[in-house]
Symmetry: C2
Subunit: 334 residues, 2 copies
Amino acid sequence: MNDLITLAHGSGGRRTRDLIERLLLPRFTHPALAELGDAATLEIGGTGLLFTTDSFVISPLEFPGGDIGKLAVCGTVNDLAVSGARPLWLSCALIIEENFAIARLERLLDSLAATARQAGVAVVCGDTKVVEHGSADGLFINTAGIGMPVPGFRPTRPRPGDCILVNGTLGDHEAAIFQAREKLGRHEALCSDCAPLNGLVAAMLNADAGGVRMMRDATRGGVGTVLNELVRGSGCSAMLDEERLPVSAPVRGLCEIVGFDPLYLANEGKLVCIAAPATATALLAAMRAHGLGIDSAIIGEVVADTKERVYLRTGFGGSRVVSVPEGAQLPRIC
Amino acid sequence: MNDLITLAHGSGGRRTRDLIERLLLPRFTHPALAELGDAATLEIGGTGLLFTTDSFVISPLEFPGGDIGKLAVCGTVNDLAVSGARPLWLSCALIIEENFAIARLERLLDSLAATARQAGVAVVCGDTKVVEHGSADGLFINTAGIGMPVPGFRPTRPRPGDCILVNGTLGDHEAAIFQAREKLGRHEALCSDCAPLNGLVAAMLNADAGGVRMMRDATRGGVGTVLNELVRGSGCSAMLDEERLPVSAPVRGLCEIVGFDPLYLANEGKLVCIAAPATATALLAAMRAHGLGIDSAIIGEVVADTKERVYLRTGFGGSRVVSVPEGAQLPRIC
């Protein structure tokens, strides 16, 4: 059974990483790909540009706080934004299952178009494929995106003493998907955080472009997985404070009932930022002043530990390793 | 039942056009999209670039002459090439059905990588999603592509007297897919023409950049559908000569048995080119000198008929209208 693709290969966790490293990187040797960032950094005629892609296979297609159309814009816009690009253009490719209701497709496209307008990006090319009933699950959307590098910002490696920031509560997206899928009527307060983060990132870089070392959007695998990626190759580790992790009461309640860990729950409107300590307080203030960063917090710091691990300091004074999970807590959350 | 998506909506024919015009264009108003070309023409920091996307859902995944990996490169490379761009970079996004054999995935990725090398393009970013068994049919691939405009070439409208050229025999791809799907053992000679055309297009523009008015790759809907798109809005019509249409003996045989029309059969390595008459002979010679244009032919001309139709002059001296079909002859051929 090791020879078959499993849902864990698509989770964003360790199996996804294995798949990329074993199957994809050996075949595609462009330096931009080898960096494994959220977007490829390229140059055309002396002008820099960033390029990224994501397919969206979320189930259900509509959920509290969003739908696949909104998500298809946010996912790609956010990959560009956290890579230090101003998103400009999107492609939009639909794979539709036969017998899909056109009225529903229109509603999802309305949402996609509204989110693109909100994010200030233009959909400039597209494609439509239809497959037989039973050959796809409703609707899959791929978006690729092109952005222009923000002047003055270059991602750099984390250093000991750096602060680790997030722009709000963890796990809202995956918790909302879980609720929608399980039809848990009692958790009405659970709502996806799905949002385009390019405005927030612009405000952050405007406030402190020199102090921001790296950013990542904390999607599949959550903040725990993304932080493991950020410390990889840095020669440092990350130390989180459990007490400083912002988690909403409904998500905390769900995690206690179901046994989820909010550090591994996917977000679609949250980024992790590693920033120089000297200006971190000013950066935090700039984040909190933005509508998508009201609950921003410094959740930990980079420490001089060459094991390149993520640790969590618990309320009892101890600490544990936050490793990369094999797979996700739920499949098809984006 | 008019309210549901049908396979015809994905055929590349009239229903696809309806879907694009009714559902997509009203929501996305960027001028590059409104042109409905094979790629969007954009500008970043004063440098021109072209951007396109295609999803591939072909069944079966492997067929005589190619596979979904090869096709995923050719389709996007060819959209860029016929739009007058030198293809530079591709994204590659996989949607994989759970339990897909990893060895098969490796084989298809090998093919994708080899075709990218052959075409001189680099895969620079990607994405991997896995869906439950039964939620997709094996493997879908999306590629988006970025290219740089070839200096000296700008697509312009067809004019009466222009020549219509193709770079070889029609319908090989769809005929090969039909054979592979129906498991017709007797037609071994049927083989897809799937190939990256950027080298051929470079040779054509090198020979006659000023004489080439427009090019299109004749994929879904075949040469008949693509020519209808090319005359749309031009104020002219196209007159084809049935006797000059290059069709291989095995494809002709299949069409006679099954009732297919080679003018509507999809190709994956054929382009239609409209060119000024003065230099068309030199252009034809340049095409025939290229390995992917040996069977190139002038198949008709643009005529002063404001109905914007495509006509076929038959062997008996009559002519008939080649209209845009409602749907394709076969679903999921790319």
